[in-house]
Amino acid sequence: MPLLEVEKLTKRFGGLTAVNNVSFDVDEGEIVGLIGPNGAGKTTLFNLITGFLEPDSGTVKFKGEDITKLEPHQIVNKGIARTFQVVRPFRHLPAIANIIVSCVSPRGARKLEWLKSPARKALDMLELVGLSEMMFEPAENLAHGDLKRLEMAKALATEPDLLLLDEPFSGLNPIETDYLTKSIQRLHLDGYTMVIVEHKLHELMKLVRRVVVLHYGEKIAEGSPKEVSQDKKVIEVYMGRGI
C-alpha cells in the first residue's frame, strides 16, 4: 500500500482551475519530485494535501486513511509535515523556541524520547541542521539560508513520516545548496519519505528517482528523471514549441 494516495484532486479558484484531476502515489521511503512551470499548481497541490485548502473534489489518503477533510494541525499530527516556499518563521521567538513549538504539538511531544524535554529535543534538531550556534538569536535576525534550515528543523521536529518540501533550494547559495542536498540524502537514508517541489531541476534530478510534472493544473507526465526529460510534452512546456 502506498504511503500517500492522491486521487483525482481538483481545486478551482473562481474560473481558474488550479489543480485539475491530479492523481499520484508516493511509496514509503522514496523521494518524489514535483515540477512544472510557474503557476502549474504545485504549491496549491501541497496546500490541498496538507489541509490548508479544501479540494472541490477528489481524496487524499495517508496510510490508507482518508485525510481530505482534516484540519492542517490534525494532518501534521497524522505524520505529514511541510515547509513553505516563502519562509514563515515565528520572528519574535529565538531559533530554539521556533522549534519548541513543534515539539509541543501532540505528535512532536508523543515522540519525545524518555527523559527528554522539548527544549533538549529542539536543541538536537538545531544541531541536526547546523544552527545550534544561533539558538538564542531571534528569528527575525537570521539570514535567509538559516531561516530555510530553521524551516526544515521545524518540520522535522514534528516527527513526520512524510515530508513535503516546497522549493527548499530557492534563494540558497551554492555552498548552502550543496549542504541541503547532502542533508536531504541523509534524511532519505534515515528512511524519510519526501515530496519535493523545485524549480532548480539540476539539483532535484540528483535526488529523486521519480518525477511528477504538472502543467496548468494537470499532470502531464510521470516517471524517472530520464524518461521525463525525454518526454515530448515536457520539453514543449519547458522549452516552448519547436519552430
Partner: protein, 387 residues
C-alpha cells in the same frame, strides 16, 4: 543546620535576584509598594484618598496584565476586555446581594464566571482575526449593557440593577475595624492579588504554552503547520486572561461596595483617564510595554499616579507665581500636560517605558558578562534570549 539553609537561601537570592538588575529593581519597587500605607496612612493629610488611588492602580495593573497575555502574547486583539472585568464585578455583587454569600466566597465565585464567559465569547471569536476580532470583541460589553436594561420577558434588570447596578455589597472585611484599617487591608490584599497574578502570568508567558502563544501571534498558519491546535490555545489564552480580569473585577466590586455599568464601560474608573476602561488597559499596556507582562503593571502605576503628581506641582507653581488658578483650572492644566506627555512617551519609546528601562539594564549586565568572558579569554555571548 539553620545557618546552612540560610546561607543557601541567601546565595540563591543573591544570584537570582540581586545579580540581575531588572529583578533587583522589581524587588525595590515591591518593597516600596509594601511601605506605601506606612508612609501615607496617618502621616499625610488625605492619606486615605491616596491609598484609594494606589488600590485602583493595583486593580488596573492586574487587569492590564491579563489583557497583555491575550493581546501582547497570543495576539488576539480584544478591545472589549472590560467585559471580563464587568462579569467578575457583577457576579461577585449579585452573589453577595441576591444569595447573601460571604465576600470571600463571592470573590472566588467571580472567577469561574469570567472563565465561562471567556469560552462563550471565545468560540465565535475564533472565526475572526486581527481588526475584525477587535470589532467583534468591542460588541460584547455593549450586549451585556443592553441585557442589563432588559425588563421583559425575563427581568434581568431586577438582578443586574439597570443603570444603578448592584449596590450595597459588603467589603471584604468589615466588622470591628476602622475605615482606615479596612483600607490598609484592602491595599495589601490588592497588592497580593497583583503580585500573585503577575507572577503566574509571567511564568505562563515564559512557559512552553507562552511560546506557543507567541507563535500564534507571529504566524497562525505556520503554527498550524507545526502541528499546533491553534483554536485550543487561543481559547486557553482567553480563559487565562478572563481568569485574572474577572478576579480584578470581583475585588473591585467589593472595594467599591457595588458593581455598576461603569465596570463594563470603564473597567474601573481611574481618576486619570476618562476613557472607556477597555481602552485604559490598552493605553496602560502600550505605555508600559506590550507583550512583557511587567510593562502593563508599570504603565498602570505611572498613569494612575502621574495626574496626582502633576496636580501637586501645578498647585505649588501657581501659588508661587501668584497665578491664582481655580481648582478646576488646575485640573484642566494637569490633564492637558498629562495627555501630551503620555503621547510624547509613547512616540519616543514605542516599545514601552518599562521595556525600555529593562533593555537598558540588560545591556549593563550584558557588557559586564562579555567583559568577564574576555578576561577569561572566552568568546562573548553571541545572542541574547528575548523571551
Amino acid at each position: 543546620m539553620v545557618t546552612r539553609y540560610l546561607r543557601r537561601f541567601y546565595t540563591s537570592f543573591a544570584t537570582y535576584i540581586l545579580d540581575i538588575p531588572p529583578r533587583l529593581l522589581a524587588l525595590l519597587l515591591f518593597l516600596l509598594a509594601l511601605s506605601v500605607p506606612l508612609l501615607l496612612a496617618g502621616n499625610v493629610k488625605g492619606g486615605d484618598y491616596y491609598l484609594r488611588i494606589f488600590i485602583l492602580a493595583n486593580v488596573n495593573a492586574l487587569f492590564a496584565a491579563s489583557w497583555d497575555i491575550l493581546v501582547g502574547r497570543a495576539g488576539q486583539i480584544s478591545l472589549g476586555h472590560a467585559l471580563f472585568f464587568g462579569i467578575g464585578a457583577y457576579s461577585s455583587a449579585i452573589f453577595a446581594t441576591s444569595f447573601g454569600l460571604p465576600p470571600w466566597i463571592t470573590l472566588a465565585l467571580s472567577v469561574p464566571f469570567g472563565v465561562l464567559v471567556a469560552f462563550l465569547v471565545g468560540f465565535p471569536s475564533m472565526r475572526v482575526r486581527g481588526p475584525y476580532l477587535a470589532l467583534v470583541s468591542l460588541a460584547f460589553p455593549l450586549i451585556l449593557i443592553r441585557l442589563s436594561w432588559l425588563e421583559s420577558p425575563i427581568n434581568i434588570k431586577a438582578v443586574m440593577g439597570g443603570d444603578f447596578g448592584v449596590q450595597g455589597i459588603p467589603k471584604l472585611i468589615s466588622n470591628g475595624y476602622t475605615p482606615l484599617q479596612v483600607r490598609i487591608f484592602e491595599y495589601y490584599f490588592s497588592l497580593l492579588l497583583l503580585c500573585v497574578g503577575s507572577i503566574v502570568l509571567y511564568k505562563i508567558a515564559r512557559s512552553k504554552t507562552g511560546i506557543v502563544f507567541v507563535s500564534i501571534l507571529d504566524d497562525e498558519l505556520a503554527s498550524k503547520a507545526s502541528g499546533i491546535n491553534t483554536t485550543k490555545y487561543k481559547l486557553l489564552a482567553f480563559a487565562i486572561s478572563a481568569f485574572f480580569a474577572s478576579l480584578a473585577g470581583g475585588f473591585y466590586a467589593h472595594f467599591m461596595t457595588g458593581a455598576d455599568l461603569s465596570t463594563l464601560l470603564f473597567g474601573g474608573p481611574s481618576k486619570g483617564l476618562i476613557v472607556p476602561g477597555s481602552f485604559t488597559v490598552v493605553i496602560m499596556t502600550i505605555f508600559g510595554g506590550i507583550g512583557t507582562i511587567y510593562g502593563p503593571i508599570v504603565g498602570a502605576y505611572i498613569l494612575s499616579l502621574l495626574p496626582l503628581l502633576l496636580y501637586k506641582i501645578i498647585d505649588v507653581l501657581s501659588s508661587l507665581a501668584n497665578l491664582g488658578l481655580s481648582i478646576a483650572d488646575i485640573w484642566n492644566w494637569t490633564f492637558l500636560i498629562y495627555i501630551v506627555s503620555v503621547v510624547g512617551f509613547v512616540v519616543a519609546w514605542q516599545k514601552g517605558i518599562a521595556a525600555y528601562v529593562v533593555e537598558k539594564l540588560d545591556e549593563l549586565t550584558e557588557t559586564e558578562e562579555i567583559r568577564k568572558d574576555r578576561r577569561k579569554g572566552k568568546k562573548g555571548k553571541k545572542g541574547k534570549k528575548r523571551i
